[in-house]
Symmetry: C2
Subunit: 135 residues, 2 copies
């Protein structure tokens, strides 16, 4: 698979693929006449990168994760700590997403004249109140 096809199948531009390679997230593939040729499973790796990226992982974290996996990191390693921390964050973000969804649904339904009144009626204030300690 050439870079254009890989990028296209992942919904990216070739430049993004080269960028990942430069960051060390994607292994440099072998080349034919100077051009990159990717094995089939490269697509999975790219999709996984994008998946994690969409979940709020930075590319630096993703690199850590993929590196850790490749090396089959031992228990208690940096990788495992990162994973545990991330699971907590993902949990938090699921809760937040649910609250946001119900807030949006209410806002679509309700006739509240202002956001403040709506938030009061929903008693979302407590939710917002402890947003101060950000994740």
């Amino acid at each position: 698979m050439k870079i254009g096809e890989l990028a296209g199948r992942a919904g990216l531009k070739p430049s993004a693929i080269r960028y990942y390679e430069k960051l060390g997230i994607l292994h440099p593939p072998h080349r034919v006449g100077g051009q990159r040729r990717y094995p089939g499973d490269a697509l999975n790796r790219v999709l996984l990168i994008r998946f994690a990226g969409d979940m709020g992982f930075t590319l630096a974290e993703i690199k850590l994760f993929l590196g850790g996996l490749r090396d089959n990191a031992p228990v208690g390693s940096r990788w495992r700590k990162l994973a545990v921390r991330k699971i907590g964050q993902v949990d938090q973000s699921i809760k937040r997403a649910r609250r946001l969804k119900s807030l949006l649904e209410h806002l679509l339904r309700c006739q509240c004249p202002s956001l403040q009144i709506c938030v009061q009626r929903l008693s979302l204030s407590p939710i917002l109140k402890n947003m101060g300690e950000r994740i």
Copy 2:
């Protein structure tokens, strides 16, 4: 409330508050001797902005939402369309987050020698496969 207190309570720096004001997301408060003084409910608004921001809304979208709310937009308006679209996206992101969580939990538990094998065993491939059409 002066800007430092507002920022502090929201877990932000004063510069972020001024930035929101410059973007038109935060109403310019009245001033005392040239300094901004905020009413109590400004905190809720800032927290809501951060909440939405954490959920992946851009500040431009947040401005639209808050503007739409303030004007009590009629049915079918731009605001409602945006809200409906966003609910869909939030739904998607909840599903993704759950998948990511189970992927992470599995990776912590399993003894898979590589990511590819792990993904195969979990039959996560179908999940990754339709990641091509990104939200």
